[in-house]
Symmetry: C2
Subunit: 346 residues, 2 copies
């Protein structure tokens, strides 16, 4: 099955999208469909030797910009590249969508065209973070800024299934992000969620703090999309700032500069470890299909890896397993009544 | 005037508190009163030559532990070191309190004993962060986990006055932490607050993102205490993790190890720049008096610097200026009616 790439979405579209798709087709043998302005895509494709690669183009006349609102993107731009890409999944012509465009619009288009997994009220965007022990999945990192406890419970279940199916963790430990580890901590949202998660069919580790994310204390960190987005962007910003501050100090004197040159291989291995491009995109969990959201400034490698992860996600039947786990959650007699009711409405 | 130090609060109490107080008295000539178990404080003091220094001891028989609830600390432990320290301010025997103990209990005791600045509903804990451009004040970092817009407006005003009076920034730029810079972003809380802040008597820069904090985009970052606490602990954790990961990579081979040795002076200057101990404690803004909250694991230097900042805070009449700025806010005809009413109740 093919992976559809929104060729018009990112800051450097369609250049990096086309090159990333060519590389994914070549290195992993994944068939790809580039969706967007056919002329511009053809012009980009002409730069590469794609002989023998299974690369198709699907024309779409419109583009959703970074400043368009998600709902406008669906209502006003019906022939946008992101929407047409999801239509390919709906019609069975593709198994997954990869986009570096407007993430809100990608989520809205995915929900609108493919609908949600049964029982899920709100999809979430999940992001893999490098930690001292390996990798940790954080969700939601920006899909839903105002959440109810039931949404966070669903995020926890979806994250657990994803960590097991895609990250290969047998029994993923799930933590709820809070302002302290003690049960007395938390805000209204986390306190209610904490009670529900104890009864959910997951390995729940309770509250964790901000510092625990990079220590790798748990495999999956659950939070609302407002907090998760702050966590994501703060982490990117702080990593950059630490690198810049160190470099600045090193450039101030001659001897450290030599030291830096000698230490460079270690710095480079470190940078590779914290490079988000290595992890490809952030999966959009909860839609009845596969969508992978990439950073707007994604490079070719990030697009290539996102295509690979999207393909794996689709092949491993992750959504089916999520639906089953949700059913198990509803069936638990200990699960609070209110939670079942609320979920049943959706 | 004297600074009262809760000698029993921190993880390493009363050792670091006593040494920090001795050093503050010696280096800055600030008179100090150590509050807590008199015998233990005397035993610690015996390790130092305090000849000629103005150091007093005020006995308090109880200690509020890290796991005590803030309200218990006030109701049950009436002779606790933190409460007795604030009583010294109330009676005019001290100008400020410094504590590395339970921050929730410190805030509760401060509010209970000294009350709030007129017009302030909720005090906030403010923390200085090192950035690429200098320093940024973030508040609230843990005082109030569930906030209303009016609380964030007061945080913005208090932060603005603090940045001007203590950090020496003529016209501090205030940013509201959100999940994106566009007005369409934010959650319910930030959207309402954003509208109010446009009319407040501050230099408001609008929404900022997580990455902007360390870039130093603004001088003061406003958020609720849940988000702020995640930001604070994530930053500490990530800085530690980055350091450890780099060291790990460097230790893997021989050549980089030499490089690291040569680059060490730069690393040390960098570590000094991001060392929280340099900035002393986090001021408790909004109480009618001065309280400085230190990290539980504070070292001697952190305590010493917190005493210095507490003294400056008290000397510069910051609280009086905050009260005036709040009055200016209420008086603005453009300020939404609901905000005035809500504030007037408190």
């Amino acid at each position: 099955m093919r992976v559809a790439i929104d060729a018009m979405g990112g800051d450097n579209a369609p250049g990096v999208e086309v090159e990333g798709a060519v590389n994914a087709a070549r290195e992993f043998g994944i068939p790809v469909t580039l969706v967007g302005d056919e002329d511009r895509i053809r012009a980009e494709l002409a730069h590469y030797d794609s002989t023998g690669l299974d690369i198709q183009i699907k024309h779409a006349s419109e583009v959703v910009g970074m400043h368009d609102s998600p709902s406008d993107a669906i209502r006003k731009k019906k022939d946008s590249s992101i929407r047409v890409a999801f239509e390919l999944v709906k019609s069975g012509d593709a198994e997954a969508v990869v986009s570096a465009g407007n993430s809100g619009a990608t989520m809205a288009a995915g929900m609108f065209v493919l609908k949600r997994i049964k029982g899920i009220e709100r999809p979430a965007i999940a992001q893999i973070f490098p930690t001292l022990k390996g990798k940790t999945l954080v969700l939601d990192v920006g899909g839903n800024v105002d959440c109810k406890p039931v949404h966070l419970v669903h995020f926890a279940i979806m994250g657990s299934v994803y960590a097991r199916s895609i990250m290969g963790i047998e029994t993923p430990r799930i933590g709820l992000l809070s302002n302290g580890e003690e049960e007395s901590k938390g805000n209204e949202l986390t306190r209610e969620t904490n009670a529900f998660l104890k009864d959910a069919p997951i390995s729940y580790a309770g509250y964790i703090e901000g510092r625990d994310i990079f220590a790798g204390a748990v495999d999956v960190v659950v939070c609302d999309g407002f907090v998760g987005n702050v966590v994501l962007k703060l982490s990117e910003g702080l990593s950059e700032a630490v690198g810049k501050m160190l470099k600045e100090e090193i450039l101030k004197s001659f001897l450290p500069k030599i030291g830096f040159l000698l230490a460079r291989p270690a710095f480079q291995r470190f940078m590779k470890k914290v490079d988000y491009a290595e992890y490809g995109g952030a999966p959009l969990l909860g839609i009845d299909g596969v969508g992978m959201i990439c950073h707007g400034g994604s490079n070719t490698k990030a697009i290539k890896n996102a295509i690979k992860f999207a393909h794996e996600y689709a092949q491993r039947g992750v959504n089916q397993k999520m639906a089953e786990k949700l059913q198990e959650n509803f069936a638990r007699s200990t699960q609070p009544e209110g939670l079942n009711k609320e979920t049943a409405i959706s």
